[in-house]
């Protein structure tokens, strides 16, 4: 493997900011532009950038393929779980109003959890797709 020194150093500096921006987009989603899908893609992009410069093996040490599969499922379970929670709390499926003491807070809370679920699944799915394609034909 050739050592691309400059890209490596730049990327090392850049990745924390990409991740931070991903988190900003994620948690800003309930009262402004942003949301789980975009955040998930940004988050995954940081990982893919890392994997491209430091190799797939290093990336998989950080984020093993088995853990990824778990997160793919976990996000969706969280999403659907919020729906079931609102049924249990007396509303319709995915009715956020009942999730907190008053509807506005409930909406905030509901969107936060839903977006988190979306974010986790999207980030995991994108990284998973990358792992699948780049790992193909190696073994």
């Amino acid at each position: 493997m050739i050592h691309h020194l400059i890209p490596r150093v730049v990327v090392k500096l850049l990745i924390p900011f990409v991740l931070l921006f991903g988190l900003y987009v994620q948690f800003h989603g309930d009262f402004g532009p942003g949301g789980g899908f975009q955040a998930g893609v940004i988050f995954a992009a940081a990982f893919i950038l890392y994997a491209m410069l430091f190799g797939l093996d290093h990336a998989q040490r950080v984020f093993p393929a088995g853990v990824i599969s778990f997160f793919v499922a976990a996000g969706l379970i969280l999403y659907a779980g919020v729906g079931f929670a609102s049924i249990v709390l007396g509303g319709n499926y995915l009715d956020y109003d009942v999730l907190a003491h008053d509807p506005v807070h409930g909406q905030h809370r509901g969107i936060l959890w839903i977006e988190l679920g979306v974010g986790i699944t999207v980030a995991a799915v994108i990284v998973k797709i990358f792992y699948m394609f780049s790992g193909r034909g190696r073994d």
Binding site: F70, A80, F84, Y93
Partner: protein, 496 residues
């Protein structure tokens, strides 16, 4: 609130949350058991919903508490509930059946993902049937289609990959056409709610975007349910898919798409959309006649029994849409009842093929010599299913054809010609079913075939359950024809 009030949401949400859970179950048997359990619960929910609709009328469920037309609502009326029951019943019968064939045809480490895709496919199909929102239909259409591409490609035959690819390309084009059509309607009416659309459409009916939308939606959906000549993806997909997947998709995927067509053509475009004497039946009817004549003829020349059944499906889709295209109560009843009946017939026949695939390792006609003596129960199921496909009295096939011919004769003039064409196509189906039966019972079994044994009970019981349903609903038609008649009246806006 009681659980009963949330049944429409649970119908879709349950298999949806079950799919990721299933993907986490690494032990193959556990994943299968879980999927089976879920499919049974889904069937119970569908049955309860139908009972609720029949006693109380249309149910409306507001997703997230947002009222229509702004929010997505699930609207369950007689026809939806009937579709849900078809999909859920086939799911509940094929999922337990799947165990042995999937073990034989899919690598063990992929079973959890296979059943997750299976449940997602079920979610998508149920979702299409239940939702009252035009865009939501697109989303569920893609959920079911994407998971069915994956399911088809799970087979160990490499030709399944190209079949799935072909299906993916055509299916995506179909879904995108549908999306364009919905976009055009949204542009003109400003709503995505199907009932609301139907109310607002008359004001803008005589405009070019609406006519274009009708064209896009009809063609897009016709691609999805493989109306002749848009059926190219279907034979390969059903032939090379894993046996359980063929049995499941052949019975449900095309039926649900036909339901979408019904919804749009009658509920949304039910008004005069301004083209002189335009009825979509005028161009669908000749296609349907071509579909069953060509489908049955091509089926005769197939050497692979699964492919033969797939071409027969093309023909049967012709019957269903033909019934619908008559625009009459009898015709529509025939179309809807055939949705249900064909689901049972074709699923049972594909399940028989799965049994043979498991024991013989091939479903080529030349490999089936004398199989009737080695697998008596399996082959007898094929004979009964075949008789039902032909339309012999005391089977469900007869009920469908009876109403179809009644509907055709009502049309007068050309109706006689169509009725004759239906009869000719039925005779053709006698030929292709006979080809298989002849080989299986009257040809000597080849040397060394003695070790072929009967299929395991886990597969025979579901198969015979469906064959039994074929006979039962062929005699006892109150439920199927009664519900289909109500649904037809609802779509045509007639009070019974």
């Amino acid at each position: 609130m009681s659980v009963a009030a949330h049944l429409p949401a649970l119908q879709v949400a349950l298999p949806l949350i079950a799919a990721p859970l299933c993907s986490l179950l690494r032990r193959p048997g556990v994943a299968w058991g879980f999927a089976t359990l879920v499919s049974w619960v889904v069937l119970v929910i569908a049955a309860l919903l139908l009972a609720q609709v029949l006693s109380e009328g249309t149910l409306i469920y507001e997703m997230g508490g947002w009222a229509a037309p702004w929010g997505i609502i699930y609207e369950v009326d007689t026809i939806n509930a009937f579709m849900l029951l078809i999909v859920a019943a086939i799911g509940a019968i094929v999922t337990p059946y799947a165990r042995h064939t999937v073990t034989a045809e899919v690598p063990a480490e992929q079973h959890n993902l296979f059943y997750a895709a299976w449940l997602l496919c079920l979610t998508g199909l149920l979702g299409i049937a239940i939702t009252g929102d035009a865009f939501n239909v697109f989303v569920f259409l893609e959920i079911s289609s994407l998971s069915s591409y994956v399911l088809i490609a799970a087979s160990n035959d490499r030709r399944a990959l190209t079949a799935a690819y072909q299906y993916l390309v055509l299916g995506t084009i179909g879904a995108t056409f549908y999306l364009i059509g919905v976009g055009l309607i949204y542009m003109m009416t400003g709503t995505l709610n199907i009932s609301d659309m139907a109310e607002r459409l008359p004001d803008v009916a005589n405009t070019r975007p609406i006519r274009a939308a009708a064209g896009f939606i009809t063609v897009g959906i016709a691609l999805k349910f493989a109306l002749f000549p848009l059926h190219l993806w279907l034979p390969n997909a059903y032939t090379y898919a894993p046996s359980a997947v063929s049995a499941f998709l052949a019975a449900t995927a095309t039926k649900v798409s036909i339901y979408v067509l019904l919804r749009f053509e009658f509920v949304v475009f039910g008004v005069d959309i301004g083209i002189a004497n335009f009825h979509f039946s005028e161009f669908l009817m000749p296609l349907c006649v071509l579909a069953f004549l060509a489908g049955s003829t091509v089926a005769i020349f197939q050497n692979d029994v699964k492919r033969l059944l797939a071409y027969s499906s093309v023909a049967q889709i012709g019957y269903m849409v033909l019934g619908v295209s008559f625009y009459s109560l009898d015709g529509m009843t025939a179309g809807i009842v055939h949705l249900f009946n064909h689901a049972m017939i074709k699923s049972a026949l594909f399940m028989v093929m799965g049994c043979i695939m498991l024991r013989v390792g091939s479903v080529q006609i030349k490999d089936l010599h004398g199989i009737g003596r080695h697998m008596p129960w399996t082959m007898f199921a094929f004979v009964l299913g075949g008789l039902s496909l032909i339309g012999v009295p005391l089977t469900v096939g007869f009920i469908s054809k009876w109403y179809l011919i009644l509907g055709a004769l009502e049309e007068g003039g050309y109706g006689f010609a169509i009725a004759a064409a239906v009869l000719i196509s039925s005779l053709l189906s006698v030929i292709y079913i006979w080809r298989v039966v002849e080989v299986a019972y009257f040809k000597p079994s080849p040397h060394g075939a003695a070790e072929i044994t009967e299929a395991p009970l886990g597969m025979l019981i579901p198969t015979w359950l469906l064959i039994g349903a074929n006979i039962y609903f062929g005699v006892q038609t109150d439920l199927t024809v009664g519900v289909a008649r109500q649904a037809a009246a609802l779509l045509l806006g007639i009070d019974l």
